[in-house]
């Protein structure tokens, strides 16, 4: 029902009540008047004055009769006359005095008549009170006098009569009027009552309708609750159960009559949970825990009658009634659901664990195979560098070819493992596409020529030379496609095209297409050609080698790079593979374009002092041989600890650090070297690892490493690294010794003089270092003086680093800052070691 209807009803009721009250008060007022009038009538204060007045005339006539009788009978006793006179006298006195006739007395005619009568009495009293003779003698006169006032007495009567009838008429009218008003008011009241009754009847009807609708709703609700599959329990603020539906009976194995009035927690909760829940309920009641209800579903443990426990999903709602809060609990037995979930989770965990185990196994196996293979290939490379007979040379080459093939297979497996483990990270570096493709074609041209096949490549449309992409992955994909094409084409042609285009999203992409006129692909293989371990002609493959992983890896890489790979519909003689890779246009990167060439020359010109920390002997030997062959000096350590000891003592230009080693691994050793502050604390450290996932590489750099070399190590990759650090050393900001300057000094002094001076300088330096090392031996002023002196000597030999450090300490001494001096001391010592070893190796 709307509020406006409600308001109207109320207004109607109020109107009825007010109208009724008004009618009632009017009736009450009128009733009082009627009662008063009735009482006036009843009180009859007048004692019917009309009677009294007329009695006056009657008594007068009575007296007159006595007077006439006495005149007729002279012997008569006069007492009768006297008595009648007295009676008349008393009547007139009453007319004169009676308060009820005061109104009458205001009437002039009446008053005059009364005075006349009184005059008669006044005149007659002395005669009546006189003796009998006098009275008897006066009888005639009294009679005459009486006859005279007889009219006055009549006048009294008639005036009184008319007066009284007027008054009575007025009174009657008044009463009639009051009664009329009373009737009107009564009718008004009846109408008001009738209206009120009508209104009440209407209200009653509406109430009945509403009642019916409420009953219908309640019935519907009850049906819903009763047939609900979830338990619905209602309890009051104290937890006393008020409702317990059929589903609740089934779930808890209780009957409604058992639980009504019981405490909810006693009926449904395991004993050890009760106090906790009770506390939460209490806090909710106190307003501390408003989120207890309405926070959605909770999973709780519930208990059946026989003590069986089961997981239940519970939602609690609160309603506010006149009797305070009531809680409505919706509860569902989720035993089955939980069991299924648990089983699913278990199954998933097992599957994941299996998958991880497989990946780990493959990664480990690949690593374990690659390490010895690396050694084998390295040694082969070295062996081929020695003097061999032509036959030996051929055998060694074949061994190397086989070894490289094996290495590629292992790498393929590792790539797949990484991709499937989600560890494949795609780079975005500037790449020169033309060069990449040209190099590839160069590498394949030998094979192609052997099969009398020609190779060509070109851009379709506008070329896009520089892009940001992952060159290694792209190389891998294209190599696979081109190598395959070459492999299966004899006396034919392999053409490669590149075409710059746009992706659907508006970015750039490059579409490569490798087309050959080879044997083609069997129709039944077309659909599966990108799957793992799919090979074409098994016998043929055996000849060329192939795991059947090449294209599946290509597919994985292309997908990882956001691109796509596919096979065109067969077109007569040719077979065409395409790969579409999204790219970003890039500007030419001259540095990376030239580094390789420059690196080699630099490395060969300036030999570096390199520490190789590697536990595997073969690898160690191979690396050292390769470095030596490139003109570097090498020092070896068998494990991390040995590496730390060496790095602390000696200063190396570069440290190559194997990662997985017994006793102490490469990462820990790197941290120790960086933190130890030894001679090589600042030297570049490059990790050597067979197992380098991208996130691991980041961790290496965080440990303080400067780069990562991935096994198998090639002479090229080593040259690249050594070249990088030769360059950085040559362009380093502080040179330990300016060699040009030294050479000049040497030339000026001659070999002998130079040697002598160097000896003096070294003695000076040693002395200074030892004195500075003992705190408190020298005053700040002396430190300043000595530093100045030794710095002067250092300048002669071009020992610029030493000179720089001494100046710093000199400034600190001048400022009197001993803490600073102490801090600079270790750096000075390191520089001194380098300087000394450079001047006198």
């Amino acid at each position: 029902m709307s509020s406006s209807t409600h308001g109207r009803l109320r207004a109607g009721l109020i109107f009825g009540i007010i109208a009724g009250l008004i009618a009632l008060s009017i009736i009450a007022f009128l009733s009082i008047r009627v009662v008063r009038d009735l009482r006036l009538l009843e009180a009859a204060s007048s004692d019917n004055m009309q009677w009294t007045v007329s009695q006056g005339e009657v008594e007068f006539l009575g007296m007159l009769v006595e007077v006439e009788l006495a005149r007729l009978d002279e012997t008569s006793d006069l007492s009768g006359l006297r008595c009648r006179f007295d009676i008349f006298f008393s009547r007139l006195a009453t007319l004169n005095e009676a308060p009820a006739s005061s109104g009458l007395r205001s009437n002039e005619t009446y008053r005059d008549a009364l005075e006349e009568a009184q005059g008669f009495l006044d005149r007659t009293v002395p005669l009546i009170d006189g003796d009998d003779d006098t009275l008897r003698a006066s009888l005639a006169a009294i009679s005459a006098d009486a006859q005279n006032i007889r009219l006055s007495l009549r006048q009294l009567s008639s005036t009184g009569l008319s007066q009284f009838s007027t008054t009575a008429e007025e009174r009657r009218k008044e009463i009639a009027q009051t009664l009329t008003r009373l009737t009107v008011a009564a009718i008004g009241l009846i109408i008001a009552l009738a209206l009120s009754v009508a209104h009440l009847i209407r209200l009653n009807k509406q109430n009945a309708l509403r009642q019916k609708s409420i009953e219908r709703t309640a019935k519907r609700l009850n049906t819903i609750i009763a047939t609900s599959l979830d338990a619905v329990i209602v309890c009051d603020a104290e937890g006393v159960i008020l409702e317990f539906n059929r589903a609740a009976e089934v779930i808890f194995d209780r009957t409604l009559s058992d639980v009504i009035g019981e405490n909810l927690l006693d009926v449904t909760c395991p004993p050890e949970l009760r106090s906790g829940l009770l506390e939460r309920l209490r806090r909710y009641r106190d307003g501390d825990n408003p989120r207890f209800v309405r926070r959605g579903r909770m999973q709780l443990e519930a208990v059946r009658r026989n003590g069986d426990r089961f997981p239940a999903e519970v939602a609690i709602q609160v309603a506010h009634t006149d009797d305070g809060h009531i809680f409505i609990i919706f509860l569902r037995d989720v035993s089955d659901q939980v069991r299924v979930e648990t089983e699913l989770v278990k199954a998933r965990d097992q599957a994941l664990a299996g998958e991880r185990m497989k990946t780990d196994f493959l990664a480990t196996m690949s690593h374990e195979i690659r390490t010895p293979l690396n050694g084998l290939l390295g040694n082969l490379a070295l062996l081929r560098g020695t003097e061999l007979s032509e036959r030996q040379q051929r055998l060694a080459r074949d061994m190397q070819t086989s070894g490289q093939l094996l290495m590629r297979h292992v790498s393929d497996v590792l790539d797949i493992t990484r991709y499937d483990a989600g560890n494949l990270r795609i780079e975005h570096v500037p790449t020169h596409l033309d060069r990449l493709v040209t190099d590839l074609i160069d590498s394949q041209s030998g094979t192609a020529a052997a099969q009398n096949t020609t190779l060509s490549w070109r851009w379709i449309g506008e070329p896009m030379h520089w892009v940001e992409s992952d060159p290694d992955r792209l190389l891998h994909i294209l190599q696979n496609l081109i190598a395959n094409a070459v492999k299966f084409t004899h006396n034919g042609h392999v053409s490669i095209t590149a075409e710059a285009g746009r992706t659907d999203e508006g970015g750039h992409e490059v579409l490569f297409r490798v087309q050959d006129t080879g044997i083609g692909i069997a129709p039944e293989l077309r659909a599966t050609v990108f799957n793992d371990f799919v090979t074409g002609n098994t016998a043929y493959d055996r000849e060329f080698g192939g795991t059947g992983l090449g294209l599946s890896i290509a597919r994985r890489f292309a997908t990882a790079m956001g691109g796509d790979i596919g096979l065109d519909e067969p077109d007569g003689q040719s077979t065409a593979f395409w790969v579409r890779i999204p790219v970003r246009p890039a500007v030419a990167d001259t540095k990376s374009a030239t580094s390789t060439q420059d690196g080699e020359t630099t490395a060969q010109e300036a030999g570096l002092n390199i520490l190789v920390v590697e536990d595997n002997e073969i690898n160690r030997v191979v690396v050292c041989e390769m470095l030596r062959a490139a003109g570097h000096r090498t020092t070896v350590a068998h494990d991390g600890e040995a590496g730390i000891v060496l790095a602390a003592k000696l200063r190396f230009d570069l440290i190559l650090m194997d990662i997985s080693m017994p006793v102490m691994d490469g990462r820990a050793a790197t941290c120790a070297i960086r933190a130890g502050g030894g001679a090589s604390a600042e030297s570049p450290i490059v990790a050597i690892t067979a197992n380098a996932m991208a996130d691991e590489q980041a961790a290496f750099l965080q440990d303080g490493m400067d780069g990562v070399l991935t096994k198998p190590l090639s002479q090229e990759s080593l040259a690249e690294i050594t070249g990088r650090y030769s360059v950085s050393q040559a362009s380093g900001e502080t040179k330990v010794v300016d060699l040009d300057h030294r050479h000049q000094t040497q030339a000026v002094l001659g070999e002998e003089g130079y040697d002598k001076l160097v000896g003096t300088f070294i003695a000076e330096g040693e002395d200074l270092i030892s004195q500075l090392s003992e705190t408190g031996v020298l005053s700040c002023a002396e430190i300043e003086r000595l530093c100045h002196q030794v710095a002067g000597s250092a300048a002669i030999f071009g020992a610029t680093a030493m000179q720089e450090n001494l100046r710093t300490i000199q400034a600190a001494a001048k400022a009197g800052d001993r803490a600073w001096i102490a801090m600079q001391l270790s750096a000075l010592k390191r520089v001194w070691e380098d300087t000394r070893s450079t001047l006198r190796p």
Binding site: C83, R84, S90, A93
Partner: protein, 172 residues
Amino acid sequence: MIQKFWKTVVASLVGVIIATAGANATKLGKAEGAVLLTVTGAVTQANFGDAVQFDLAMLEAFDSTVIETTTNWTKGVQRFRGVSLAVLIDALGIRSGTLRAAAINDYTVEIPVTDAVKGGPIVAFELNGKPMSRRNKGPLWIIYPYDSNEAYKSELIYTRSIWQLDRIEAVH
């Protein structure tokens, strides 16, 4: 039936006791002075034939009652003294019925005996300390205490307030 029987028995017994009490009342003497009131009818004693005659002294002999009241026929508050009607009829053994009261001019009214109660009407013989003359509505006047009891302010009572009273006849 039994109840009715017992009621009858009790009423009879009460009647006997009261009758005995009336018989034992003071014997009235003869009226020595002027006779002011003559009571006839159902009286239990008489001093003049079948009637009882009262002079002023005899009336004065009763315990007198004073009523101060206004009346319809006089001006201002009046002080009446007289013998209570109840006392009077009790002395005469009148217990029920009607008193037919008559005035000198033969005006007659009927007063039910039930009117004669304590605090009810008196037969006044003195007004404002003086005997009442015939011209002043004397010598006897039945006065109800109009002012002290509203019920007495009714026309019926006014008609019963008979003045110049000289006879009462007790009728059943």
